[in-house]
C-alpha cells in the first residue's frame, strides 16, 4: 500500500484517463465491455477516496505551507520555465475529491442507458474526470490551469453530441463563456509568474504556495491598483464557473441541454470549481483585495440567492428549475466565504459538498422522469404520487434536502453560512434568509404541481423508478442524511485548513 498511498492523488486522477485509453482500444460492437471498463475506471477512484478518508490527518492545515499538505508529489516538469507537477491535498480540496470520485462513478452508472456512440461518450467522460480531479489536487498554477482547461473539450462534446434539442447552441455558449474566463486567468497567471520569485532559487515560479507569501511579490505586484485588477481578472474567471449573477447565463442552457449524467457533473462538481478556485487561489494570494471586496462579494452572493430562487420559481421546465436552484445555492457559498469567519468558511465549504450531492440527486431524478415521459413541463404532469410512490419519495427527499429541511445536509450548510456571516453582514444575511422563503416556495410549488393533485390520465401507467436508478440515488440519500444529522466528521475534515485560510486573509487587516 505504501506506493499507492504516496501517489494516491495521481492514481485518482489518472486511472480514469487510463480507462479512457483502454476504451479506445476495445473492438467495435462491444458496448457492454466499454460500460464495464468505464465503471471500473471510475470505481477505483472511489475506493481510493475511501482510503483517503481514513488516512487523511485532520490536524494538518495545508493552505499555504507545503509541509502541511498530505499525499504530496513534487516533480519538475518543464525545468526551463519552472513548471512543476506539484500536487497535494488539504482540507479545502479533500471534500471536493471525495465528491468528485463519488459523483463520477454514479454518473457512469447513470449513463448506462446511453445507446449512441457509447465509446466516445465514456472516453470523454473519463477524460473529464481526470480534468476535475487534477484541478482539485494541483498546487502549481500552470498545472491547475491545464487541468482546468482539459475539462472544456470533453464537456463541449458531451453536451454537443449527446445533448437535447438545442445542444449545439448550449455547447458552444458554455465553451465560449468558460474560455473567456480562462484567458483572463491565463493573463493573471503569467503576470503572477513574472512578478514573483521562488525564495529558494530566485527564479520565477508557478508554485501557488509561493504566491501566498507576500514577500515573494516584487514591487509592481505590491501596488494595490495592480492587485485589484489581477484579483478581478481571476474573480471573473471563477465567477463564470460558479456562476455568479451577471455571468450565469450559460448555465440554464448548458444544464437543460446536457444529458442527465453530465448535468449531474456540471452542477455537482464543475460549479464548485469556481468557489474552490477562490478559496485555493484568490483569497490567499490577494488577502488584502479579498478584504477590500468582501462586501461586494457578499452582495453578489445574496443577489445570487434571491435572483436564482425567483428565476427558478418562474420556470416551467423542471430541469431549468433545478438549474436555477443551483444559482441560488451557490450564492450561499459566496456569502459564507465573503464573511471571512471560520464558521462562514466552513459553511461555504459544507454547502459546496452538500449541494454537490443534493443537486446530483435532483438532476438524476429529473432525468428519470424525462426518460419515461419525454418532457419535463411542470404543468404537464399532476398527481404522479399515486402512480410512482417510490420515485415520489426520492424526489420529495431531494426537494426537502434542497430547500434546507433540518436533519438533512443542506440545512447544516446554510445555517453555518448564516451563523458565520451574521456578525459581519447583518442586513445582508437577513435579506438572504428571506431568500430561503423563495427557495422553499419554488420547491414546494413544483412538488405540488407534479406529484399532488388530480392524476393526469396520460401518465397513469408511468413506470416506477428501476433498480439501477435507485442504485445511483441510494448512496446520496444515505450521505445527505448522515451529514445532516452528524456533520462533525466532514467538518473535521475541512476545519483546520479553513481556519488557517481565514487567519491568513485576516492577517493583512
Amino acid at each position: 500500500m505504501g506506493f499507492i498511498d504516496s501517489h494516491i492523488l495521481s492514481f485518482m486522477t489518472f486511472l480514469p484517463l487510463l480507462g479512457a485509453a483502454v476504451i479506445l482500444c476495445v473492438p467495435k460492437g462491444k458496448d457492454e465491455t466499454i460500460k464495464w471498463i468505464a465503471a471500473a475506471a471510475s470505481f477505483l477512484p472511489v475506493l481510493l477516496a475511501v482510503r483517503l478518508w481514513f488516512i487523511y490527518d485532520r490536524t494538518m492545515a495545508g493552505v499555504n505551507v507545503a509541509s502541511q499538505f498530505q499525499f504530496v508529489e513534487h516533480y519538475s516538469w518543464i525545468p526551463s520555465i519552472n513548471v512543476e507537477y506539484f500536487v497535494g491535498a488539504d482540507g479545502i480540496s479533500m471534500p471536493m475529491l471525495l465528491l468528485t470520485a463519488l459523483l463520477s462513478f454514479l454518473a457512469v452508472i447513470g449513463s448506462w442507458g446511453i445507446d449512441k456512440k457509447i465509446r466516445g461518450y465514456m472516453a470523454l467522460f473519463l477524460l473529464l474526470e481526470t480534468g476535475m480531479m487534477g484541478t482539485f489536487i494541483a498546487l502549481d498554477f500552470f498545472l491547475f490551469y491545464v487541468f482546468w482547461e482539459v475539462m472544456l473539450l470533453p464537456m463541449y462534446f458531451l453536451i454537443g453530441v449527446w445533448g437535447g434539442p438545442r445542444k449545439e447552441y448550449a455547447a458552444i455558449k458554455f465553451f465560449l463563456y468558460t474560455l473567456a474566463g480562462s484567458i483572463l486567468m491565463l493573463i493573471v497567471l503569467l503576470a503572477l509568474y513574472f512578478n514573483t520569485t521562488n525564495p529558494d532559487t530566485g527564479a520565477h515560479t508557478f508554485n501557488l504556495l509561493h504566491y501566498m507569501s507576500q514577500s515573494t511579490h516584487n514591487g509592481w505586484l505590491k501596488g494595490f491598483d495592480v492587485r485589484i485588477l489581477l484579483f478581478l481578472g481571476l474573480f471573473i474567471g471563477f465567477a463564470i464557473k460558479v456562476p455568479l449573477f451577471p455571468f450565469h447565463t450559460w448555465l440554464p442552457d448548458a444544464h437543460v441541454e446536457a444529458p442527465t449524467a453530465i448535468s449531474v457533473i456540471l452542477a455537482g462538481v464543475l460549479l464548485k470549481m469556481g468557489t474552490y478556485g477562490l478559496m485555493r487561489i484568490s483569497f490567499p494570494v490577494f488577502p488584502d483585495v479579498t478584504v477590500y471586496f468582501a462586501l461586494p462579494m457578499a452582495i453578489l452572493g445574496v443577489i445570487n440567492i434571491i435572483y436564482g430562487a425567483l428565476c427558478a420559481m418562474a420556470q416551467s421546465d423542471l430541469k431549468k428549475l433545478v438549474a436555477y436552484s443551483s444559482v441560488s445555492h451557490m450564492g450561499f457559498c459566496l456569502l459564507g466565504m465573503a464573511a471571512l469567519t471560520p464558521l462562514g468558511m466552513v459553511g461555504a465549504s459544507m454547502q459546496m459538498f452538500s449541494h454537490g450531492m443534493i443537486t446530483a440527486m435532483l438532476f438524476f431524478l429529473v432525468g428519470v422522469v424525462y426518460d419515461r415521459a419525454h418532457h419535463r413541463q411542470i404543468d404537464g404532469f399532476g398527481g404522479l404520487g399515486v402512480v410512482v410512490p417510490i420515485y415520489t419519495a426520492f424526489i420529495g427527499f431531494a426537494f426537502f434536502a434542497s430547500l434546507g429541511l433540518p436533519g438533512l445536509s443542506g440545512f447544516i450548510a446554510e445555517q453555518l453560512v448564516f451563523l458565520g456571516s451574521f456578525p459581519v453582514f447583518r442586513t445582508l444575511v437577513i435579506i438572504g434568509a428571506v431568500g430561503i422563503i423563495f427557495v422553499a416556495a419554488f420547491h414546494l410549488w413544483a412538488l405540488q404541481r407534479v406529484f399532488l393533485g388530480p392524476l393526469n390520465p396520460k401518465y397513469a401507467t408511468l413506470d416506477e423508478i428501476n433498480a439501477r436508478e435507485i442504485f445511483c440515488l441510494a448512496p446520496l440519500v444515505v450521505l445527505i442524511l448522515i451529514v445532516g444529522v452528524w456533520p462533525m466528521p466532514v467538518m473535521n475534515l475541512m476545519n483546520a485548513s479553513l481556519v488557517r485560510l481565514v487567519d491568513l486573509v485576516k492577517a493583512v487587516i
Binding site: I78, L153, F175, L179, I187, L190
Partner: protein, 492 residues
C-alpha cells in the same frame, strides 16, 4: 570576417541539394515519356530529405558570414531552413495525395515547390539587401506559378493574377525603401547599414524606409493591411500549395523580418538578451498596432467564412498577428516565442490542411457543410482535424496552447498588457469559428452517411502530424531549448 566564395561552399550544402534536385527534375521532365509519374514526387522527397539532413548536421559554431557577407550561416538560419524544408516535405506528401494535382504535369509542380524552398533558405539567411531582394523574388515568383497551377480553373487563375499584382506592388515599395537605406548609408550590408544609421540622425528618411520595407515583409507574412491577396490565393490555389503558403513563406517572412529589423533599426545589448532602438523611429509600436489589427481582422472575418480553405486563410492571418507580438518586444525571449510558435504552427496548420485535402478528394467540396458528419464517416480523420483545430485555438493539452503561452508570457513580461488582452479576446473569437467545423463534424448528422475511405499513407501522415501536436502540449522542453539556442546564435 567574411568567408570567401570557395571557403563558403562547405556551408552551403542544403542549398546545393535542393538545386541539384531541381536540375534533375528539369532534365528528367525533358527525357521522360510520362510527365505525370509519381516518381517526381519521390525524387523531390529525397532531395528535401537530404537538405534537412545536411542543414541539421551543419558545422556548429558561433555562426559565420559566408559568400563575402551575402549570406549568414548561423543557428537562426539553420532553424528556419530545417523548418521550411520540413514544411515542404509534408506538402510534397500532401501533393502526391491530392486530387487537385492528379492528371497534371508533376515535374513542373515540384520544380516550383523546390525553387520556393531554395528561396526560403536564402531569405532566412540573407544579410545583404540585394541578396535579400533576390531571395524574396525567388520565393514569390514560383509561388505565383503554384497558385495558378490549376490551368483552366477560373479561381486558380484569378488567384495567380491577384498574387502577381499584389506581390509586384509590395516588392516595388520595399525595394524603394531599400534604395533609401542605400542612399543614407552607402552600403548594401545589413549590419553595416545598421551601424551607419545608429550613428546618424536622419529620422524622417529612416521612418520612411522602415515603413516601406514593412510593406514588403508584411505582404510575405500576410499581415493586415497587406493581406488582401491571401484569402483569394488560398482559396484558388491547389490545396497543398495553400498549405504550403500558409506555413513556408510565412515562416521565411518572419525570419527576414526579425533579422532585418533587429539589425538595421536596433542593436543588441550583449549579454542581456535585449535589443535597443538605435533611433527615435518607434517601429515596434507600429508593428504592435499591426499585430493587434492583423489578429483582430483575421479572426473577425474568419467567423463569416463558409469555405474551409478561406477560413483557414483568415485564421493563418490571425496567427501571423499572434506571432508579430513576439517581434515587437525587442527581446530574445520574444523571438524564441516566435520560433517555438512556428514549430507548433507547422504541425497543426499543415495537419488541418491535410484533412481538408482528404475530405475534398472524397466529397469534392471544401465548404463547412461538406464536413458534416465526418465524425462518423471518417472518425480517424475527424478526430485528427479536431485536435488540429483545438490546437490552433490554443486549448491545452495541445501544442498550440504552449505556443501561445510563450508569446503571451513575453508580452506580459515586457508589460504590454493591452496587447495581451487583445490577443486573449481574439483567442476566444477564434474558438467560435474553429468550433463551427468541429460542430459540423461531430454534432450534426450527415445526409450521406457513407464511410469515407482514408488511405493508409494519409493515416500515417496524420499520425505523424498529430503526434507532435499532442506531445508538444505535454512535454515541450526540447523544442523550447532548440528555439532558445537558435536565437542565441543569431549572428549578424
Amino acid at each position: 570576417m567574411f568567408l570567401g566564395n570557395l571557403a563558403s561552399v562547405g556551408y552551403f550544402l542544403p542549398e546545393f541539394a535542393v538545386t541539384a534536385t531541381i536540375l534533375l527534375l528539369v532534365v528528367l521532365h525533358v527525357v521522360t515519356k510520362n510527365p505525370k509519374s509519381t516518381a517526381f514526387g519521390f525524387l523531390s522527397l529525397l532531395g528535401v530529405g537530404a537538405a534537412i539532413l545536411l542543414a541539421g548536421v551543419a558545422p556548429a559554431g558561433a555562426g559565420r558570414s559566408i559568400f563575402e557577407g551575402m549570406v549568414a550561416h548561423d543557428g537562426f538560419a539553420i532553424f528556419f531552413k530545417v523548418l521550411t524544408a520540413l514544411a515542404t516535405l509534408v506538402v510534397i506528401f500532401m501533393s502526391m495525395d491530392s486530387r487537385d494535382l492528379a492528371g497534371r504535369s508533376q515535374a513542373e509542380y515540384y520544380v516550383f515547390l523546390l525553387s520556393t524552398l531554395l528561396g526560403m533558405f536564402l531569405l532566412s539567411s540573407a544579410t545583404d539587401i540585394v541578396m535579400l531582394y533576390l531571395a524574396l523574388e525567388l520565393v514569390s515568383i514560383p509561388s505565383y506559378l503554384l497558385a495558378g497551377y490549376l490551368k483552366g480553373q477560373e479561381h486558380s487563375t484569378e488567384a495567380a493574377m491577384k498574387y502577381v499584382v499584389y506581390g509586384a506592388t509590395a516588392s516595388g515599395v520595399m525595394i524603394y525603401g531599400f534604395s533609401i537605406l542605400f542612399g543614407l548609408t552607402g552600403s548594401t550590408q545589413v549590419a553595416e547599414i545598421g551601424r551607419s544609421l545608429a550613428a546618424g540622425k536622419a529620422t524622417l528618411p529612416m521612418l520612411l524606409a522602415a515603413v516601406m520595407v514593412a510593406v514588403g515583409f508584411g505582404y510575405k507574412i500576410a499581415a493586415v493591411p497587406f493581406h488582401m491577396w491571401s484569402p483569394d490565393v488560398y482559396e484558388g490555389a491547389p490545396t497543398p500549395a495553400t498549405a504550403f503558403f500558409s506555413v513556408g513563406p510565412k515562416a521565411a517572412g518572419f525570419a527576414v523580418l526579425v533579422r532585418f529589423y533587429y539589425t538595421v533599426f536596433a542593436a543588441a545589448d550583449p549579454g542581456t538578451g535585449l535589443w535597443r532602438l538605435t533611433s527615435s523611429v518607434d517601429w515596434p509600436f507600429l508593428f504592435a498596432a499591426l499585430s493587434a489589427l492583423t489578429m483582430t481582422v483575421g479572426n473577425l472575418v474568419a467567423v463569416k467564412q463558409d469555405n474551409v480553405k478561406r477560413l483557414l486563410a483568415y485564421s493563418s492571418i490571425a496567427h501571423a498577428g499572434y506571432m508579430l507580438m513576439g517581434f515587437v518586444l525587442l527581446t530574445s525571449a520574444g523571438i524564441k516565442a516566435i520560433l517555438f510558435y512556428l514549430v507548433v504552427y507547422l504541425f497543426m496548420n499543415l495537419g488541418a490542411f491535410y484533412v481538408v485535402v482528404m475530405v475534398s478528394n472524397a466529397t469534392l467540396g471544401e465548404e463547412i457543410s461538406d464536413f458534416t458528419g465526418l465524425g462518423s464517416r471518417a472518425p480517424f480523420a475527424a478526430v485528427a482535424l479536431a485536435i488540429f483545430l483545438f490546437a490552433l485555438t490554443g486549448i491545452p493539452p495541445f501544442s498550440g496552447f504552449i505556443g501561445k503561452v510563450y508569446l503571451f508570457a513575453e508580452v506580459i513580461n515586457r508589460g504590454v498588457y493591452w496587447l495581451a488582452v487583445v490577443a486573449g479576446l481574439n483567442s476566444v473569437v477564434s474558438l467560435y469559428y474553429y468550433a463551427r467545423i468541429v460542430r459540423a463534424m461531430f454534432l450534426e448528422e450527415p445526409k450521406d452517411a457513407s464511410a469515407i475511405p482514408v488511405p493508409a499513407v494519409s493515416m500515417a501522415m496524420l499520425v505523424l502530424l498529430a503526434a507532435p501536436t499532442m506531445i508538444l502540449g505535454v512535454y515541450w522542453e526540447p523544442v523550447a531549448r532548440i528555439a532558445a539556442d537558435s536565437v542565441r546564435m543569431l549572428a549578424f
